[in-house]
């Protein structure tokens, strides 16, 4: 297929467009009035459609085409976004994503999209007149004119005919008018309860303000719905009266006559007033809302705006293997540089020395660039989380804001590829187990919207990623209980554990505290997998928590996997490298300080007893042994909570080293994790400190 060469470009670009669609849809959900976001979405959808059509992916093209129709109406102010449209569009995005995935997997990208297409078509046809002209209505001053505007505002032809049909079929239709008490603090919740009660017993035809606005508390204290009920008027009235903090609930039955009145624009005075009131209330609160809606929700969109701003860089795509070979070639150059510097210092010719020095400067600049080439902003991992959290929160019936900071922080490509899954797991964990349900949060006196912070930042040679929620925190007694029950710790050990050590039990294999296993998290295979994954990347994961105030998961990752900082040590004629990440301290120990304890050597280190290992013995050093020494240099290394002292002959110093594998022929060397090439061209082996501490 001659198309093949374009396929990878198509896949890359389609993924980018889908990502941007997802992000912008989420932004739009927060700020439904912002037409400029709709423009961006429209353009992405349009490009996607064009690309798919030219690649012959008909289903992709037809679905995007229908999405475009809906968006076009929104963009031209002919249609107002509401919860249903959002949900449909999100479903479309999911379908598109699946199709693109199918293409990636070598499929034809076809899928049954007829249902979604017809839903979209309905949206386009169904409510074209349900315009968001609440403000217009309020502005109109003559009530006689309002009569016309208001009624049309509330119901369009389609909705009228639905109501009419249902009355003809014998199910009662009502106009329900609800006023919430002025002193109600969480009117959104009350409104939600009303909707919930209504939806259980019938079908809401139209609500004003829209469900979306009500969910975001963008309404006064009053809302009204047209409703087809499955239960009689009295029962409906009773059900609604049970909801507390409602001022009034008016259930007005609709019959064919009143409908035709509505249709004929001669509505009862009451309804006009309602319309005016609602319109005024809706527009007034809509204007005020940015200033006065609930704090987290209102404060968040502006905070997020700068991080999600599209970065319009000029880029080219490069195969990661080419970067790897560039890196390899470069490390050879580095070795030659050191060799040249050595030679130049022996030859002592000024012009040679100058040239070599200049070359050294250029090559260290080059090193920075080569390393940077492999760096990717964590945004490429983070960008899928807002959507994930939204969907999770919806399915769990929780309210959640995900606040991302530091998405521009860069990490090595290899790390980026691996870090996604552990992060997904931790975030799901926070959303599922950490943040309480709406009721739970209200009881605990917290705002009903939970906040999950996802942060990334540089610190020294590391990148930190933190996930912090303001949920219930870790239930330590319960953790201990389960750990003892599952035999992870003995009851005696459990008593001695510090708070942090108890939290770390969560990472033990086969541990799960969830009371019930949900499909989101809680299968108990998770956190230990998370930990081993992060450790395999040379990172560390930890958790801190305050009961009732939330937990913070912190991941520390090396900046890059191909170049690490290591301590070079000498054992007789041999040199070894020990990654600096696991070294706590270096020092000198006197032979007399090392004691024998049950046949193993230990020493006192900061008021605790730690084991002492001889690196020469572990590595069978041929020409060095620390037995005869009176004073030995040592490294204190750490694995998790455990410390150990490692005796060496001599510390050479810190150095940036390029990681190399030993090849496939030599595997299963548990103490040696790899090799590096030193400045003199010699190979030095890298000791794996994790293997030293058992």
């Amino acid at each position: 297929m001659e198309m093949n060469q374009y396929l990878s470009i198509f896949i890359d670009e389609a993924n980018e467009h889908l990502q941007s669609l997802n992000e912008n849809m989420l932004r739009l959900e927060q700020q439904p009035e912002d037409i400029s976001i709709v423009q961006v979405i429209f353009r992405s959808a349009h490009t996607l459609k064009g690309m798919s059509a030219s690649m012959g992916f008909e289903d992709l093209a037809s679905l995007t085409h229908e999405m475009e129709n809906v968006l076009d109406l929104v963009r031209n102010d002919k249609l107002k976004m509401n919860g249903q449209i959002f949900d449909t569009l999100f479903k479309c995005l999911d379908a598109l994503e699946n199709m693109v995935q199918d293409v990636v997997a070598g499929g034809t990208g076809s899928a049954d999209v007829t249902e979604l297409v017809s839903q979209l078509k309905q949206i386009v046809k169904g409510e074209p007149v349900a315009v968001a002209s609440a403000g217009k209505a309020a502005a109109a001053d003559a009530p006689s004119e309002l009569e016309l505007v208001a009624t049309h505002l509330l119901l369009d032809q389609y909705q009228l005919s639905v109501l009419r049909q249902s009355i003809e079929n014998g199910s009662p239709a009502f106009h329900v008018d609800v006023t919430i008490r002025e002193d109600c603090l969480l009117k959104g919740v009350r409104a939600y309860m009303v909707f919930d009660a209504l939806e259980r017993n019938g079908e809401i035809i139209k609500s004003h303000p829209t469900v979306q606005e009500i969910e975001q508390e963008q309404f006064g204290h009053q809302f009204s719905v047209y409703y087809i009920s499955r239960i009689p008027q009295q029962e409906l009235q009773d059900t609604l009266d049970k909801i507390s903090e409602l001022e009034t609930v008016k259930v007005i039955p609709l019959d064919l006559e009143s409908l035709s009145e509505l249709d004929g624009s001669r509505s009862a005075e009451q309804q006009i007033q309602e319309a005016v009131q609602q319109a005024a209330a809706a527009s007034a609160t809509a204007e005020k809302s940015p200033a006065k809606t609930d704090k987290p929700a209102a404060a968040e969109p502006p905070a997020r705006a700068p991080t999600t701003a599209p970065v319009a860089n000029k880029t080219i795509r490069v195969d990661i293997e080419r970067l790897d070979s560039l890196m390899n070639l470069f490390s050879e150059l580095l070795i030659d540089r050191v060799r040249l510097e050595q030679l130049a210092s022996e030859v002592r010719r000024n012009d040679l020395t100058e040239t070599v020095e200049h070359m050294a400067r250029v090559s260290s600049d080059l090193q920075n660039i080569v390393l940077k080439l492999r760096m990717v902003p964590v945004d490429s991992v983070f960008n899928r989380f807002p959507r994930m959290v939204r969907d999770l929160a919806k399915s769990l019936g929780k309210k959640l804001d995900l606040v991302i900071t530091g998405a521009e922080t860069e990490l090595d490509r290899t790390v980026i590829d691996e870090i996604g899954d552990p992060l997904v797991h931790l975030i799901r964990n926070s959303v599922d187990h950490g943040v309480e349900t709406i009721e739970g949060r209200l009881e605990a006196g917290k705002p009903e919207t939970g906040v999950v912070n996802l942060r990334a930042f540089h610190s020294g040679n590391h990148v930190f990623i933190e996930i912090e929620d303001d949920g219930r925190g870790i239930n330590q007694p319960k953790v201990l209980d389960i750990a003892i029950k599952k035999g992870i710790v003995s009851p005696e050990e459990a008593k001695k554990l510090s708070d942090d050590e108890i939290n770390m039990l969560l990472f033990a294999p086969g541990f799960s505290t969830a009371d019930k296993i949900s499909d989101i998290s809680g299968r108990g295979v998770g956190l230990d997998v998370v930990r081993s994954k992060i450790e395999s990347l040379g990172g560390v994961v930890s958790v801190t928590s305050k009961a009732g105030q939330g937990s913070k998961w912190s991941i520390q990752l090396p900046l890059t996997l191909s170049i690490i900082t290591a301590m070079l040590v000498k054992l007789g004629s041999e040199k070894f490298a020990v990654p600096l990440t696991s070294i706590v301290e270096t020092g000198v120990v006197r032979r007399s300080e090392i004691r024998d304890l049950h046949g193993s050597k230990v020493m006192e280190y900061r008021k605790s007893i730690i084991p002492v290992l001889s690196l020469a013995a572990v590595l069978d050093s041929p020409d060095y042994s620390d037995e005869g020494e009176t004073e030995t240099e040592m490294l204190v290394i750490r694995k998790g909570e455990k410390l150990a002292a490692v005796l060496v002959d001599e510390l050479i110093g810190q150095s940036e080293i390029v990681l190399k594998t030993l090849g496939k022929y030599l595997t299963n060397l548990d103490v040696i994790s790899g090799a590096t090439i030193l400045g003199d061209g010699q190979v030095a082996l890298i000791v794996d400190p994790n293997a030293l501490i058992k």
């Binding site: 022929y665 030599l666 060397l669 040696i672 090439i677 010699q682």
Partner: protein, 153 residues
């Protein structure tokens, strides 16, 4: 079917051996070898081959021959087989010759103390010279190393 092929000729304990030329990457002079602990005795360690770390094997001790000190003539032959890249330390490597499959015979049970399974054949060439052809995939067989490791541990 008689087929011509080229072999690299090297010596080990005064015997001449051959490896097909397409299995050989390069032939290097001896360079400093870094010892790798916890490996079988015949694994001498690793070398830096232009930025790539390559393990090297002493072929003498691999075949159970007495080890000898390295000389001016010692070479490391870098071979690639079974997806592996490994260097062989040999006493010398000095010739490339053409052979014909007609001249190759099955190896006798034991040749100079080397087990037959490491050999793919014996070729006669020149005036009464015998060349022992190596069976690379057996020489590089990793299962044997694993057995040795387990035995050592």
């Amino acid at each position: 079917m008689a087929e011509d092929f080229k072999v690299i000729v090297f010596t080990l304990a005064h015997e001449e051996y051959g490896i097909e030329v397409d299995k050989v990457r390069t032939i290097e002079r001896m360079s400093p070898v870094t010892r790798v602990p916890k490996t079988p005795a015949f694994v001498k360690g690793v070398i830096n081959l232009r930025g790539v770390v390559v393990p090297v094997i002493d072929l003498r001790s691999r075949f159970g021959l007495p080890e000898s000190d390295e000389t001016e003539n010692s070479r490391i032959i870098i071979v690639a087989a079974n997806d592996l890249e490994v260097g062989f330390i040999v006493d010398s490597a000095n010739d490339v010759i053409d052979l014909n499959t007609d001249n190759v015979e099955n190896p006798p049970e034991v040749v100079g103390g080397i087990k037959a399974k490491y050999l793919s054949g014996v070729a006669k060439f020149g005036e009464d010279r015998l060349l022992i052809l190596l069976n690379l995939s057996e020489v590089l067989n990793r299962t044997e190393i694993i057995q040795l490791e387990q035995f050592g541990a």
